[in-house]
Amino acid sequence: MKIKIKFFTFFGNLCGVDKAELYLPHGATVKEALEKTAQDFPKLKKWLPRYAWVFINGNYVELRTQLKNDDEISLFPPIAGG
């Protein structure tokens, strides 16, 4: 199945692109998608899968959540400054 992934703020900067597509076996989980993303974009390894804020189609997800074809993952770097 095909999953879209969007990189927000400095994740986009690190990856050099602001979106990408992933091809994963049916029933793949968020964790697997993030591991694949880290393989494709090694600069994200430091954050994935644990240290990023992740939404699927705007919804809260857990790492074990199963993805569906055409789901869109939004990936936010954790920032805390003020």
Binding site: T9, W53, I79, G81, G82
Partner: protein, 248 residues
């Protein structure tokens, strides 16, 4: 009621949203938690806009490496008074009619209810998630709107949390970032502080659209804005009860 001087002072914005809205601003009580990079522009713009009562909370004193972004303070303020106290003096010069209360100790679980019970809106201008989660829990329980922003480098994020209507901070950011010394440039904090003040003004006056259920990010390096719709986590340990989704 607005007096003649206030009508003149706020004339240009009354042209936008009318006298009734200006009166709402005058009656509003707003807490700004953290008076640093975000808190400086938030408090300046809310003071200028005529928010009636501001409560500034910050226990730190200005340090030299704060001055690239914490625009309320200058060299003469270094290591003297707490930021909340120093900020009040500056803001009073800008608008003597605003009531400003300060608290110069750390906000914590033991004192948060006493401190924030009588404010209408809480503005998160903090630099750590530990205290942000505390504000979030309090605001969800007390049903108070919470304006959240966080910044780093040339990047930032902002959302307006209205308990019972939007996801809470815990729904959106369930895991805290690692504690680091974060890079930041003044313009990023300035930009997001102004957006937070803008959220307060719109929320109080009812004029304009708030970032309700929306997470807005801006990359000042590439001038790129994004806004995504976010939904509450039905099993959020903090807010799911406020949606009636979880019963004990």
């Amino acid at each position: 009621m607005l007096n003649e001087k206030e009508l003149r002072r706020y004339d240009r914005q009354i042209m936008i949203f009318g006298k009734k809205a200006q009166e709402k601003l005058k009656k509003a009580k707003v807490a700004i938690v953290g008076v640093g990079g975000l808190g400086s522009p938030i408090s300046i713009y809310l003071t200028a806009a005529g928010i009636g009562y501001l409560f500034l909370i910050d226990e730190q004193k200005p340090e030299l490496n704060n001055l690239n972004r914490q625009i309320l303070y200058g060299e003469e303020d270094l290591n003297k008074k707490e930021k909340s106290v120093s900020a009040k003096e500056k803001l009073k010069q800008l608008n003597s009619q605003i009531k400003i209360k300060t608290y110069s100790k750390r906000i914590c679980r033991e004192n948060i209810e006493d401190l924030l019970n009588d404010v209408d809106i809480v503005v998160d201008a903090l630099d750590n998630f530990e205290t942000r989660y505390l504000l979030n829990e309090f605001c969800v329980k007390g049903r108070k709107p919470l304006i959240h922003a966080a910044v780093e480098g040339f990047y930032g994020q902002i959302t307006t949390i209205v308990p019972g209507r939007t996801p809470c901070l815990n729904c959106i950011f369930p895991n805290p970032p690692k504690k680091i010394k974060f890079p930041i440039i003044g313009v990023t904090a300035g930009f997001f502080g102004v957006l937070e003040a803008n959220e307060v003004i719109k929320l109080v006056t009812g004029y304009g659209n708030n970032l309700i259920g929306k997470l807005f990010t801006y990359d000042l390096f590439h001038n790129k804005a994004e806004c995504i719709d976010i939904k509450p986590n039905p099993s959020c340990p903090v807010c799911s009860e406020s949606f009636g989704l979880r019963r004990q």
